[in-house]
């Protein structure tokens, strides 16, 4: 039974090796000209070291929430696409209905201006 896990072990081994090689190559071959910007950790758009209880722009959340909805929709579409042949026309129409309801929400947020930053 344990032999079933052998390919995984091999995978992990190869992954570690390749990762190590990539870092080693970069370290050995790359130029070394550090400055303060380069040394600071990357964080999308925020200062890295200050009080975390600062005010965020509420629009971040709006976009994030909208993103999650449509992200989940895509996640839902994958399994559906796989079994589409089995569930047939009915399954197709059910998804159309689902997307239709989402579209109504989309129309609403668009018209309300939730998609515009300014």
């Amino acid at each position: 039974m344990l032999e079933n896990y052998l390919p995984i072990l091999v995978f992990i081994g190869i992954g570690v090796v390749i990762g190590a090689i990539a870092i080693a190559v970069g370290f050995l071959l790359g130029p070394h000209k550090p400055d303060s910007e380069k040394n600071s950790p990357y964080e999308c758009g925020f200062e890295a070291f200050e009080d975390s209880r600062m005010k965020f722009d509420v629009r971040y959340y709006l976009v994030a929430i909208l993103f999650i909805i449509f992200d989940l929709e895509i996640a839902f579409l994958f399994p559906w696409a796989i079994v589409l042949e089995d569930i047939g026309l009915f399954g197709f129409l059910a998804m159309v209905l689902f997307l239709g309801i989402l579209v109504i929400g989309f129309i609403y947020e668009w018209k309300k201006g939730a998609l515009e930053w300014e």
């Binding site: 047939g88 026309l89 009915f90 309801i101 109504i104 129309i107 609403y108 018209k111 309300k112």
Partner: protein, 492 residues
């Protein structure tokens, strides 16, 4: 092409019949109309907002007609056993429609006076109605949860509807966080039951529990979580903390919505969860509900006395009424269930009238939500004072109003299962509770008015609240019809 249309026909006919989609017509109708209203409202100018209102009322009316047309006195399941249409569902839905109809009507002027007359209130209301309908007709734990969440999310948003009000935002936040906690626990309880019985379907769970030789401790554990979720939704002590803050903080028209129709849906949820699926452990949940009921009666009635704000007072009064509702359910008999359904329906009607009166007395820039505002109402408008008197009498349980009969039926059911001490507790706290209802009557009739401004209300509001108030009296004089409908709904 002919082939395609044939295929479509076949697929649909087969599926519609197999799934029983025709039974879902009221829900489908409400969903469709809610979407239409939502989109249409986007393209309406503010001055035409009344179209949204009209369409929403039309939707409720259409749904009511569909519910009545589809009611045949039998029980059918649909959607592979996840949905049920039975007499209880029809009755509960019909009264949800009627109560929400009144709620929308009362809210109209109130919203308009505060520049809140937006489509969202009605759209969220319609989605809330859809959530209630799904809850009422749920025949699977997942459907039930879906309906509950749809209702709750609509309500959270409605509470926060007045964006510039700090109190409302605070109330919404509390409601949301506590609601999420409660629904998480409910879900946890459901998942435990799934683990024990291997099904989410209500009938299958019941059958599986019935077949058990010995009850597992885990089932009782799960039951506690389920009861918590339910008690939170109903607002039973000690899961009631959100009620006063939310009732007080929310705009009155939203309090009106939250305080009325969802009680009927919550009752239906209790029936589906406890009576139908967990009937096998009635002794256990009966005991839990007895504790909750006594606490609710005590806390609700006693604290209400100390309130100066009418909305807050009515919030505590809700808690005490929930105690009564739980009494009917915990008796575990068909008479008890019928009396609790009767109680839920009549309470929704009373609550609609009570908050409707607050709205009626309010006007632009003025909220009539303290007890002081009702002083000397008789001198200002005898008819409305009389209506409020009916509401207060009914809530206190004074004959011949319907509240008396509702309380009597519940107490009878409790005495019928030899729980005399519970009946005595209920009567004792009702007597304490009568004090704060009658205080309102005293203020209206024996005190001088503080405010001499004439009342502002439209004809529709006047007619609706008169009908609502008189319904309390008429149902009290002739409770037989509704009571036999409730009995029939429970299969008697």
């Amino acid at each position: 092409m002919a082939f395609v249309s044939q295929a479509v026909d076949r697929v649909f006919k087969m599926n519609v019949e197999m799934m029983g989609l025709q039974l879902l017509l009221p829900e489908i109708f409400v969903l469709t109309m809610a979407c239409i209203v939502l989109v249409l409202d986007l393209f309406l100018h503010d001055r035409n907002r009344v179209v949204t209102y009209g369409l929403s009322q039309l939707t409720l009316f259409g749904a009511l007609a569909l519910v009545i047309a589809l009611a045949d006195g039998d029980s059918h399941t649909a959607m592979f056993g996840t949905y049920v249409a039975d007499p209880m569902a029809s009755l509960a839905k019909a009264f949800v429609m009627l109560v929400v109809f009144a709620v929308f009507l009362y809210s109209k002027d109130y919203l308009r006076q505060r520049d809140l007359f937006k489509g969202e209130y009605y759209v969220l209301g319609l989605f809330g109605v859809l959530g209630m309908m799904v809850m009422i007709s749920a025949h699977s734990y997942l459907t039930l949860y879906l309906g509950l969440e749809l209702l709750s999310l609509s309500l959270y948003a409605m509470v926060a509807f007045h964006r510039d009000s700090g109190v409302a935002s605070e109330a919404a936040m509390k409601y949301f966080v506590l609601g999420a906690l409660a629904s998480g626990m409910l879900l946890y309880g459901m998942s435990l039951i799934y683990g024990i019985t291997g099904s989410l379907n209500i009938a299958e769970v019941a059958a599986s529990i019935g077949a058990m030789a010995e009850l597992e401790l885990a089932l009782i554990f799960a039951l506690s979580f389920v009861v918590l979720g339910l008690a939170f939704k109903l607002g039973a002590v000690p899961f009631h903390m959100w009620i006063p803050d939310v009732y007080h903080g929310a705009p009155t028209c939203v309090t009106l919505f939250i305080g009325s129709a969802p009680k009927i849906a919550a009752f239906a949820m209790a029936m589906r969860l406890l009576a139908e699926s967990l009937g096998g452990v009635q002794a256990d949940w009966g005991g839990m509900l007895a504790i909750l009921a006594v606490l609710s009666l005590a806390v609700g009635n006693v604290i209400a006395i100390a309130q100066a704000n009418l909305k807050r007072m009515l919030a505590y009064s809700t808690i005490s009424h929930v105690g009564f509702l739980l009494l009917g359910i915990l008796s575990g008999t068909v008479e008890g269930y019928a009396s609790a359904l009767f109680y839920a329906i009549t309470y929704a009607i009373m609550a609609a009238a009570a908050f409707g009166m607050i709205i009626l007395l309010s006007r632009t820039g003025f909220e009539a939500d303290t007890l002081e505002d009702f002083k000397g109402l008789n001198a200002r408008s005898p008819w409305h004072a009389f209506l409020m008197l009916l509401v207060m009498f009914s809530m206190a349980g004074v004959p011949p109003t319907v509240g008396f009969y509702a309380k009597l039926a519940v107490i009878q059911a409790v005495v019928g299962v030899d729980l005399l001490w519970l009946a005595l507790v209920a009567v004792f706290f009702s007597i304490i509770g009568a004090f704060y209802y009658l205080r309102v009557v005293k203020l209206m009739y024996f005190d001088e008015p503080l405010d001499s401004q004439p009342l502002e209300y439209g004809t529709d509001m006047h007619v609706a609240i008169s009908v609502n108030g008189l319904a309390i009296l008429l149902l009290g004089l002739f409770p037989g019809a509704l009571m036999s409908a409730c009995m029939a709904a429970m299969g008697l």
